[in-house]
């Protein structure tokens, strides 16, 4: 006698909840590890596939009372004797392993690092934990219809998948009680008695009465169904309009000849993070990529991240291009506008007044937040650039502008977090 069951179609990831608990517990260590990894990877690989990380095991041990292995007397019985006879002395094996038959702790614990793989989603979630776009406001309710569903009691109609069994059965039971539908036990008892009377042949009067009663019961049971359509109750869901925030992020990158490959790499890394972050966290965020040399153009993401270009440096065309796009597609009344700019800070001095003017009169007044990243050579001169000076003046005037310098890959992630951590969460 055997029962064969196919369980392959059962839900997978039974231990997902345990995994989440584990990741929650190891959050701090994992975050550190993720940061290291992000500095090591190639631009194109960030956010692709899972990631193997290794974290220190503190806080993750599962201790227990154990006998130590460095004190006292032990005996080991091991197989495979080749040359020893009783009384031989053997030098202690190196590292304590092998000979002892203790085979390491089965849990693989100890002070070693703990290695495991996090999935892409987990990786990115950790990566962008607690980050958000500053000062996002709901601007549009009318144009885009976005509905969410909300539980709203029960209804008498609905799709079978929403059937509420408990309610339905409760109604059915109360209706059956109220209408005195004969219960199965009663019917069975009646049947038994009829049977008994028929066999014994005694009391035909009562037998007839019982048979009549039985027939009535059958009719009654037929008339009063076990479950009637009026018993049915369904979970009801109401659509609720959900406010959404429309936002657009302008990514401005300097790709002129003054930027070395390393600097471009840093800038691209920054934008890659920004891009992943927005994609992951905000469904309704448009992203506009603008790159510029002495001329500026709006490009798609592939061109932005992967193509090469050189030329002279002018910043104002990029801002003009941004202004053009704004005017054509993104009305500041309907959209939250953000911008991030990366540059080495070079600008033709004659262009600076134009930049200030554009920023002050057009760009900054409509922007919720403007982040400026200045990339520099790792061992470059510590000097303030033209653009930095220009922007510094704007910051002093209380504009929504944030500026940071990035010198190495390792800076990217902290600067990024710094720029997008909400004020409440900053330490």
């Amino acid at each position: 006698m055997v029962n064969i069951v196919d369980r392959r179609l059962n839900p997978k990831d039974k231990s997902l909840a345990n995994r989440q608990r584990f990741i929650g517990r190891a959050r701090r260590q994992i975050l550190d590890a993720v940061r290291d990894v992000s500095a090591r990877r190639k631009v194109a690989d960030i956010g692709q596939g899972g990631e193997e990380i290794s974290i220190p095991a503190d806080g993750l041990q599962e201790p227990g009372f154990r006998k130590g292995s460095d004190k006292g007397l032990r005996r080991h019985v091991v197989p495979g004797n080749k040359q020893y006879v009783a009384g031989d002395a053997i030098p202690r094996p190196e590292g304590g392993q092998g000979q002892g038959g203790r085979g390491g702790s089965p849990q693989g614990e100890g002070e070693d690092a703990f290695q495991f793989t996090v999935s892409r989603d987990e990786f990115l979630d950790l990566f962008f934990e607690n980050l958000e776009l500053p000062d996002l406001v709901c601007t549009q309710l009318t144009k885009v219809k976005h509905h969410g569903l909300q539980r709203a009691g029960y209804s008498v109609s609905g799709s079978p998948s929403n059937l509420n069994l408990a309610r339905t059965m409760r109604n059915s039971l109360s209706r059956r009680l109220a209408l005195k539908r004969p219960r199965r036990e009663e019917t069975r008892a009646l049947d038994e008695e009829i049977d008994r009377l028929e066999r014994s042949g005694k009391d035909p009067e009562r037998l007839r009465a019982l048979i009549r009663l039985r027939e009535e019961q059958v009719v009654r049971a037929k008339r009063i169904p076990y479950i009637d359509p009026i018993d049915l109750r369904y979970n009801r869901f109401d659509p609720v309009p959900k406010p959404i925030s429309q936002a657009v992020m302008f990514c401005l990158m300097d790709v002129s000849g003054s930027m070395t490959e390393d600097m471009k790499d840093l800038a691209k890394r920054f934008f890659m993070l920004l891009y992943l972050f927005l994609q992951r966290r905000y469904q309704h965020v448009d992203i506009v990529f603008i790159r510029h040399t002495h001329i500026a153009q709006e490009v798609d993401e592939d061109t932005f991240f992967y193509s090469r270009e050189t030329g002279g440096t002018l910043v104002s065309p990029a801002l003009e291009e941004m202004e053009r796009v704004l005017r054509e597609r993104y009305d500041p009344a309907d959209w939250n506008i953000y911008a991030a700019q990366a540059s080495d800070g070079d600008n033709t001095p004659a262009d600076n007044p134009a930049v200030v003017d554009l920023m002050e009169s057009v760009i900054l007044p409509v922007c919720r937040y403007f982040a400026y990243i200045e990339v520099a050579e790792e061992r470059g001169w510590e000097m303030t650039t033209d653009l930095w000076q220009v922007y510094e003046r704007l910051v002093k005037a209380g504009r929504p502008l944030a500026m940071r310098k990035v010198k190495s890959r390792a800076d990217i992630f902290p600067v990024f977090r710094d720029l997008f951590t909400p004020v409440e969460l900053r330490r």
């Binding site: 006698m1 055997v2 029962n3 064969i4 069951v5 196919d6 369980r7 392959r8 059962n10 997978k12 990831d13 039974k14 231990s15 909840a17 345990n18 995994r19 608990r21 584990f22 929650g24 517990r25 041990q61 599962e62 201790p63 227990g64 009372f65 154990r66 006998k67 130590g68 292995s69 004190k71 006292g72 007397l73 032990r74 005996r75 080991h76 019985v77 091991v78 197989p79 495979g80 004797n81 080749k82 020893y84 006879v85 009783a86 009384g87 031989d88 002395a89 053997i90 030098p91 202690r92 092998g98 000979q99 002892g100 038959g101 203790r102 085979g103 703990f114 290695q115 495991f116 793989t117």
Partner: protein, 511 residues
């Protein structure tokens, strides 16, 4: 009805084939071997589900805890990197006996696995005395279902952090959460009265007035000692089941916390027999599958090709690397168990002079299955080895015993597989499987509930083997969390009562 056509040809399996193979195995196992397994439920799962099952101690359902997620993460990575394969099967001591088999196995593997798990392990679970007296195969799945729901409800009500704190602490004490010896059931009122009556009658029958005239002993123990004795008596001390003690006596635990301790304790107790019978359990299952598969082949139900495939897997399973082999990681329980049982079989059928000296009752008795079944039913690893490990197995495996004294610079070979050494090797090997020697003997010895409520534990040290310090400190912290007041541990030599080591008192973490 006996046909001698092969059960299957080729590697692919389907449900009718599995059913057919199961029935064929069952006929041999029940009718020829007279095994007595639970009814079986064979469940086919994918490798991912096997990984899932791994992480929760092999059980189909379990409460949630981060440590299972940790094990899963590690197992998964090892598996994906190809560092370890997965077990071919998982079997659960329940009624009906659940056997998980993997979808990617070949038909021969499925047959082997069913013979191994659904008959070998299942017979062992149902008949071994440890399992019979300590585990409840009927109720375990229901209990785990309850436990899972209970823990989830606690998380909802008191917050996952609070529950995690209790579970962490309980897990740390898990190996000290078992009753090692059966306890007397408390008497009910009727039995109590009965006993009182009998005692009264006995007193009346044996009354002698002379006793009254004997001089009374004066003094008695000092009042302090008497107070200590009374206290210990009232609390049922000394107590080695730490989880049980905390569940019943910890002054500051909430009801739900006690219930969680109880859950962990029940699970620990359920797994305790498995820890004590690794060699026998695997030996039994391996010997049974070997016998069954051989019989199927002899009767033509397995093709030669399938049998070769089986032998290949079988030899992998019972492979024992030697101590200087890089693959060596202790004695393979499958190998040791299988070798001992095969040796018993040889003794029953073709005994040598040596066997007659060593095992006069078994040698030549001709009843292989009877001898096996008795061994499976009435022993655990320690006693099984002590009783049945014969000189031939020790010679074949070239076992030798090494003395490792931490105070000496070198290891000393104490005994090898020769006439002078057989008994010593056997005794040492048996001791190696004695859980009571393996796990430190830690007991609650005193607590003054009306005073400072400090809990005092004692580790009775055998052979100078003290506790691993950093781990012990962490466990003490967990213990203090549960107890709610200070906890002290000292280590005392079991023979001389001399205090060897004292851990500083751990106070519960303020939160």
């Amino acid at each position: 009805m006996t046909t001698n056509a092969p059960l299957y040809t080729g590697a692919d399996w389907d449900y009718p084939l599995i059913k057919k193979a199961f029935d064929a195995i069952e006929r041999v196992a029940i009718d020829e071997m007279g095994l007595d397994p639970y009814p079986s439920q064979v469940e086919i799962i994918s490798s991912e589900q096997m990984l899932d099952a791994y992480s929760s101690m092999g059980m189909p359902l379990f409460y949630r805890h981060w440590s299972f997620g940790k094990h899963f993460a590690r197992d998964e990575m090892y598996y994906r990197k190809g560092m370890t394969g997965l077990a071919y099967e998982i079997v659960i001591n329940s009624n009906p006996c659940l056997c998980y088999i993997m979808e990617e196995n070949t038909m021969t593997m499925q047959t082997l696995v069913m013979a191994h798990a659904a008959f070998g392990h299942s017979h062992f679970f149902k008949n071994n005395h440890l399992f019979r007296s300590w585990t409840d195969a009927e109720g375990i799945l229901d209990y785990l279902d309850f436990a899972k729901a209970y823990v989830a409800e606690c998380e909802e009500r008191y917050g996952p952090r609070e529950v995690e704190r209790v579970l962490d602490a309980a897990h740390a004490l898990m190996s000290h959460g078992v009753h090692r010896y059966p306890r007397r059931q408390p008497l009910n009122l009727h039995q109590e009265l009965q006993r009182k009556k009998e005692r009264r009658r006995y007193e009346e029958q044996t009354f002698s007035d002379l006793w009254r005239t004997l001089p009374q002993r004066t003094g008695g123990p000092a009042p302090r000692e008497r107070a200590l004795d009374e206290r210990r008596e009232a609390l049922g001390l000394p107590e080695e089941n730490l989880l049980y003690f905390l569940e019943k006596r910890a002054p500051r635990l909430q009801h739900w916390q006690r219930e969680i301790l109880r859950i962990v304790r029940v699970v620990s107790q359920y797994f305790y027999p498995q820890k004590q019978t690794k060699v026998m359990n695997e030996g039994c299952a391996t010997a049974v599958h070997y016998h069954l598969m051989t019989r199927l082949h002899e009767t033509g139900r397995l093709t030669d090709g399938a049998f070769m495939e089986f032998l290949h897997h079988h030899t992998n399973v019972v492979f024992q690397p030697e101590y200087d082999d890089p693959r060596f990681s202790g004695i393979n329980p499958y190998a040791l168990g299988f070798n001992i049982l095969q040796d018993l079989k040889r003794m029953c059928l073709n005994p040598t002079e040596e066997d007659r000296r060593w095992f006069p009752d078994i040698a030549g008795n001709g009843d292989v299955l009877g001898t096996w079944k008795q061994a499976w039913a009435e022993y655990r690893d320690e006693s099984f080895i002590l009783q049945f490990l014969g000189p031939k197995v020790m010679r074949d495996m070239r076992l030798f015993s090494v003395r490792d004294d931490a105070d000496e610079a070198k290891l000393v070979v104490e005994a090898i597989h020769d006439d002078g050494g057989y008994r010593d090797v056997r005794r040492a090997l048996s001791a190696q499987y004695d859980l009571a020697r393996h796990e430190p003997d830690i007991q609650v010895v005193d607590v003054d509930l009306s005073g400072d409520r400090r809990l005092i534990l004692e580790h009775r040290v055998v052979d100078g083997r003290l506790l691993e310090e950093s781990d012990a400190r962490q466990v003490l912290r967990h213990l203090a969390t549960l107890w709610g007041y200070g906890v002290k541990l000292h280590e005392v030599d079991a023979r001389t009562d001399q205090v060897l080591n004292e851990f500083p008192e751990v106070a519960p973490a303020a939160d």
